[in-house]
């Protein structure tokens, strides 16, 4: 089977499709606001006339490329191209400021490829059993898992726990605006139809990270402006030994990314931050994190790329997509006669395995294209901020508008920009706010769904082995954080 599938790939069009998909994915991912969802949706009609295998490879190449591409602008400009690369910006941009932008990008690239390969192998070997396992995660399990994720973000993010908690709450409060997920009625919309949809993630992200960066640099220009202080570009070679030293971080991050990817509705941003915090907590040089630690770049990149393979597990094995991107990919599979669901592997095993093998092999063109792309992109760090900022502003407005073709989103973006500027200049961390916004609404929904199914009884949150395990994890991390805090206070 695997060999037959490989022969399907010996076709010039497959190579062309993979290259075109990955290259356009990287570029789209690097531009804030343009995510893989829209890119894939708009490319689907282009693939109508193509054979199924190259068509799907093209679209999945865009998916993988875009998740990685987001890290390029995150590292070089401190402007994450996609939400999932916000974690990469923390240490990636710090490295770029030291003139190590090239090295940070290479680490991001290799970590991305590692995450991809890991999750793809999992997808090939275990798609069906894992899809069944994902079904065991009902509302109660999801609520406990999200609570655990929020705790990890607050307790192990470094910096003040109170600050992080406050920011999570600000994000969660922003997530309340819109239609109530259970009763379906508008709340906190001030009677305005525009608010019915709530604050969308992408405009808020662009505002918080891109627009606030513009405002920060515009108002606080002391150390940025003169040519003399531009750091010279340093050598950017990453040795194999260096990657080998990160093996545990890469593996753990890939596992987190794949696992969270399999579960519906969490996406790739949360596992990126969880992996970052875990790497920081495990590191002997935790103080380096935030100041440009290579592992701080590798951990989130491995995790957010590993999500791609994980997210395809329930999409392909059950026909149940977990998020917007996989829903679009599901449509593409259907249009090419490969209807995802229980019959996909039985009826179209050859095509599916050929696609999986192509996903594995696409690591090679990803590395080549990535390295080529860096040679050009790295020079962005030598452009003076005052020349760059207008371009970022235009992209931010354009990106916010393009999500829903709505001017309201542009105002949300600008508002989030001012808020982000105020928070950053007064020293509050933004990532917990982002996580609060992403997880707040689904956490509320899962909690209330669980209580609806249990008839209001809280015993449902310790009613299955999975929830008991998660509650235990929550207790352990609370205890751990308390012990660490006490030990720190004593020394």
């Amino acid at each position: 089977m695997l060999v037959d599938a490989f022969f399907e790939l010996l076709n010039l069009w497959v190579l062309v499709a993979a290259l075109a998909g990955i290259a356009s994915g990287i570029i789209i991912g690097a531009i804030p606001g343009l995510g893989p969802t829209m890119a894939i949706a708009l490319l689907i009609p282009v693939t109508f006339s193509m054979e199924p295998i190259p068509a799907i490879i093209l679209l999945l190449g865009v998916y993988q490329g875009a998740i990685f591409g987001g890290s390029i602008s995150a590292v070089l400009l401190n402007v994450p191209g996609t939400p999932s690369s916000a974690a990469t910006a923390i240490d990636g941009f710090a490295m770029a400021r030291r003139g190590e932008g090239g090295r940070a990008l290479r680490i991001a690239l290799y970590a991305s490829v590692a995450g991809n390969i890991f999750s793809c192998l999992v997808l090939m070997a275990l798609a069906q059993p894992l899809a069944r396992f994902a079904l065991d995660f009902g509302p109660a399990e999801m609520a406990m898992l999200m609570l655990f994720a929020l705790l990890v973000i607050v307790l192990f993010g470094g910096g003040s726990k109170l600050d992080a908690l406050l920011m999570v709450l600000v994000g969660a409060c922003a997530g309340i605006v819109g239609l109530d997920p259970i009763s379906g009625t508008p709340r906190f919309t001030f009677g305005s139809f525009a608010f019915d949809n709530g604050f969308q993630l992408i405009p808020v992200l662009i505002g918080l990270f891109a627009m606030s960066e513009v405002l920060l640099q515009a108002f606080d220009r002391a150390d940025e402006v003169s040519d003399a202080e531009m750091p010279p570009l340093k050598r950017s070679v990453v040795s194999l030994v260096e990657l080998w030293r990160m093996r545990v971080t890469l593996l753990l991050s890939s596992v987190i990314g794949t696992f969270v990817g399999i579960l519906p509705g969490i996406g790739s941003t949360v596992p990126a931050f969880m992996s970052y915090n875990l790497a920081r907590a495990r590191s002997s040089e935790a103080g380096q994190f935030g100041q440009g630690a290579p592992e701080g770049v590798a951990a989130p990149e491995a995790a957010n790329n590993a999500v791609t393979g994980g997210a395809l597990v329930p999409t392909l094995a059950l026909g149940i997509p977990g998020d917007a991107v996989t829903a679009v990919i599901l449509g593409a599979f259907m249009l090419h006669g490969l209807a995802p669901g229980p019959f996909l592997f039985r009826d179209h095993g050859l095509e599916v395995y050929a696609i999986f093998e192509a996903l594995l092999l696409s690591s090679i063109p990803t590395v080549i294209l990535g390295l080529l792309f860096f040679r050009v992109a790295i020079h962005v760090t030598r452009v003076q901020p005052r020349h760059l900022l207008p371009a970022i502003t235009i992209l931010a407005i354009f990106g916010a508008f393009s999500v829903n073709n709505s001017l309201f989103d542009v105002w949300v973006m600008l508002g989030a920009g001012v808020l982000g500027f105020l928070f950053r200049s007064s020293g509050f961390p933004l990532p917990p706010l982002l996580i609060g916004l992403i997880l707040g609404a689904p956490f509320e929904q899962s909690l209330r769904q669980a209580l609806l199914t249990s008839g209001g009884g809280f015993d449902i949150f310790v009613g299955s082995p999975i929830t008991i395990g998660l509650v235990a994890l929550i207790a352990v991390s609370l205890a751990l954080s308390l012990v660490l805090g006490l030990r720190k206070a004593r020394t």
């Binding site: 109660a140 997920p181 379906g184 059950l318 026909g319 593409a332 209807a339 669901g341 229980p342 929904q445």
Partner: protein, 316 residues
């Protein structure tokens, strides 16, 4: 010199004023038409609308640009199109939810029947009542009986959607305790019933999971049987007076010239009845269900009334 220029301008102006109405009809379309889709790019509504648009533009001789305006369950886009110029150059490909479900619940800023003209219906996925295959409920009657004795939970794609309201009506009629659990999209409701977290789910796209023996289909919410499962009853056939007819159709702003509406109806009907479109929709697991504009308007009107009643019972 001056006089003649003024005269010719006046003449030109007069000429262009008088017959413009008839000219607009004859020349229509003389520029690109915008077809708004109230959901994000890549969903089934979007994909099928793009296909019907690309096939219709060959007959109309002008491009049809598909524009996605997602948000607020489609009501944002409906409101925008309802307020657009009724010149035939702005159309919307829309579904049940923003046509007669949400407008029955609250003010959405438009009245589907007064502010829009239905052109035709071309699809509409069947929503089924599904349970896990080892569930004790073998039929709709058994499910309702279970609801009366122990209470039953059911998941849907979202709060106050058509499926939820239809089952809320069933609960009122039968007195069964049917507890609704809204999910964020039909896919997650399907996952929840597969995992046994809810007793039943009211979702589309169940075919392969039923055929594979993972789910059991007890009934369909539509007014007619699902051709893939002709023996499975509709709610009405099972003796329950509720239904959720699923529509996917094209509408224009009210006040659009009837001649233009007729031309569009003829063109889109021709395209939607073609074999090419049917096989495309089969690949997408979506039915082709053609209904003329007048009939679609009637369906919407009937359901607006029915859903307003249900909403009143729910206390909205």
């Amino acid at each position: 010199m001056k006089f003649t220029r003024r005269l010719s301008l006046a003449l030109l102006g007069g000429m262009s004023l008088v017959p413009s109405a008839t000219l607009a009809q004859q020349d229509y379309p003389d520029r690109a038409i915008t077809l708004v889709v109230p959901y994000g790019a890549g969903g089934t509504t979007d994909i099928s609308a793009r296909q019907i648009a690309s096939m219709a533009e060959e007959l109309l001789g002008q491009p049809i640009v598909v524009e996605n305006q997602p948000g607020a369950s489609g009501t944002n886009a409906m409101r925008a199109v309802a307020g657009a110029d009724p010149d035939g150059y702005t159309l919307i490909a829309t579904t049940s939810s923003p046509s007669f479900v949400t407008p029955a619940l609250r003010d959405v800023g438009y009245d589907t029947l007064e502010d829009l003209v239905p052109i035709l219906n071309y699809s509409g996925p069947y929503h089924g009542v599904v349970v896990q295959v080892d569930s004790p409920y073998e039929s709709l009657d058994a499910l309702i009986a279970g609801g009366k004795s122990d209470g039953v939970t059911y998941g849907t794609a979202g709060a106050m959607g058509g499926a939820h309201l239809a089952f809320a009506a069933v609960a009122t009629q039968t007195g069964a305790r049917l507890q609704h659990v809204p999910f964020d999209g039909a896919a997650k409701a399907t996952a929840a019933v597969l995992g046994g977290h809810v007793d039943a789910a009211l979702v589309p796209a169940y075919r392969d999971l039923v055929r594979d023996g993972q789910l059991r289909l007890l009934g369909v919410l539509d007014g007619s049987n699902d051709p893939d499962f002709p023996d499975v009853p509709t709610l009405k056939e099972a003796g329950l007076s509720a239904e959720f007819p699923s529509i996917v159709g094209i509408m224009a702003p009210a006040g659009t010239d009837p001649v233009i509406i007729q031309k569009l109806e003829a063109t889109f009907t021709e395209v939607a009845s073609s074999d090419e479109f049917k096989s495309f929709m089969t690949d997408l697991s979506q039915p082709v269900r053609i209904m003329p504009g007048a009939e679609l308007a009637k369906t919407i009107e009937e359901n607006l009334v029915a859903y307003r009643e249900i909403a009143k019972d729910l206390g909205n």
